[in-house]
Symmetry: C2
Subunit: 354 residues, 2 copies
Amino acid sequence: KVHTIACIPGDGIGVDITEAAVQVLQKLSQTLGAFEFDFTTFDWSSEKYKERGWYMPEDGLEQLKKFDAIYFGAVGWPDVPDHISLWSLILPIRKALSQYVNVRPTRILRGTESPLMKCSRSDLDWIIIRENSEGEYSGQGGTTHENTPFATATEVSIFTQPAIERIMRFAFETAKSRPRKKLTMVTKSNAQRHGMVLWDKVFYQIKEEYPDVETDKMLVDAMTVRMVLHPQSLDTIVATNLHADILSDLAAALSGSIGIAPSSNLDPTRKNPSMFEPIHGSAPDIAGKGIANPVGAFWSAAEMVRWLGYGEAADGLMECIENVTGAGIKTKDLGGFEGTKRVTDAVCAEIEKT
Amino acid sequence: KVHTIACIPGDGIGVDITEAAVQVLQKLSQTLGAFEFDFTTFDWSSEKYKERGWYMPEDGLEQLKKFDAIYFGAVGWPDVPDHISLWSLILPIRKALSQYVNVRPTRILRGTESPLMKCSRSDLDWIIIRENSEGEYSGQGGTTHENTPFATATEVSIFTQPAIERIMRFAFETAKSRPRKKLTMVTKSNAQRHGMVLWDKVFYQIKEEYPDVETDKMLVDAMTVRMVLHPQSLDTIVATNLHADILSDLAAALSGSIGIAPSSNLDPTRKNPSMFEPIHGSAPDIAGKGIANPVGAFWSAAEMVRWLGYGEAADGLMECIENVTGAGIKTKDLGGFEGTKRVTDAVCAEIEKT
Ligand SMILES: CC(C)[C@H](C(=O)O)[C@@H](O)C(=O)O
Ligand SMILES: CC(C)[C@H](C(=O)O)[C@@H](O)C(=O)O
């Protein structure tokens, strides 16, 4: 079966690691023979924006809707304000394609270690479910009295019962599917009395439907402490758009490097294509140097393969990745000495062996 | 000189550690003889709320205004919703008394260690300046269609030029007063395009006034990664109300325990009393058991002494605290075996020796 994939390398190391991921995906499909990928690359980037004045063409979202999945590198470049680049590319895709769930697993890969003294590989195995469609990323708000001494700006976070319900159900289903059946819900309802209180309330409503899932509730500030000091006490985590954004970066750091962490932007109804991207950014300082860690990109690719229906192939790819990290073939951020190409070639060689 | 101090122990271990802090403050004033404290204790707590229906009397804020400083324990108890307890006590005090700066220093005390593998005592010495009057804690927002399947709630964050200017100036002054003269500004202006973009803009404006301070800018998610992986690259940090709330808990965890971290809620104009409180909460699970770590409370007391004009006495008290932790007299959260009383007595004994 042929799957059409829209590829958006974007900016900086997004380009380096997307190339690596495509290579690995092609090797995987050729080796297994059970599926094929038909990649179409879109040159939507900050560089092109500076030339053309736009990131996506007007029918960009419509074009993307025709694909089976989207593979995304990274967006953001120093000479374009970040709020322009992100609201022109990644955020509209997440929203327009109803990718209301962002799944962010974290664990310590073979051959890598946590920067924490007391955290073995089995102590940290989390999956963060991020609300991806509203909350602090609703995009509402504005500025009054701009450029005056009393300029006043607002950011309006919107939380709705249906959107909270669907993310909670997804989180409970995820927790239920894992051995520990444990869900930690994160909020800041002590300080934020409206949206966060609704979030709490819906959590308790949906919890009734899942008597077999063990739950607890954390404030986002205290959650960072728990992640650092008691990593083994956590399993599945659900949080708002902003809180999960912060916690998933922290989670990646605690598992060794932001360079390994994947994310899946899912439309669980499957009416729209889902999008897969490493959680790291475009890293202008190391872009184009051939030293970016491609592991987060490979892991994201594995999640794409899984979403397309090939769970075993996805597990197999993860195994190959861990055989490589386990053999010490790693980039600098993981304490290794290799570049992007060497890691990519090693993963391809592992795939060939399977 | 006699200083009047309003003492609000509040809930849970707030009571345990406030008692310990008062004991230490009294020992300090008696030993040094240069100042005296006149404590008035207010029984404003969740327990009393359940009896009386209120946390503070109607003229509570007026009563507090008459004091030279406020010492606060903790507030929050399982059977009162957190947004009620906090918006009835701690948050109104911060706001009504114009305590627009919250200063949160973190370092690794003698005899304690970071949970990070690569983080020696000299690698982590931060001071977080938290905007304490607006932003995500503005309190605006509401709920429409409550208790229906389409309930919709908002949280409105307000950011104003004057409030951003004053916190930025305070942050630059703080950075300037420290040996490294380095300020890191945290924001999330890539996703939040209004208030956060204003925050960035004002930062660059105020930066002009401080050419001798080295600066950089981080996104809040990436900041957690940097705190974990490159702690030595940071010194003074300025962030919004919510971001700094999250980052300061993380900072405390990375320095060993949330139980040691102090906070100063300051009105730098000195028109109103400032308030000093450890950053930990009421910890219902260990309340009243005599095992709470009083170090955060002592450090907060030292910052109060400093704010009242006695810098040397404050440094002396910190020295006594570190002599005690350095001698291994510590509570369980710091890897020790002692209770609140033993640690308190040891600090008092150190003070007597000076
Ligand atoms: C690039 C940015 C808008 C994005 C986010 O905040 O969602 C990124 O940090 C992420 O985690 O995917
Ligand atoms: C208790 C709570 C409202 C408070 C806050 O969020 O400000 C606390 O977490 C703190 O850090 O002082």
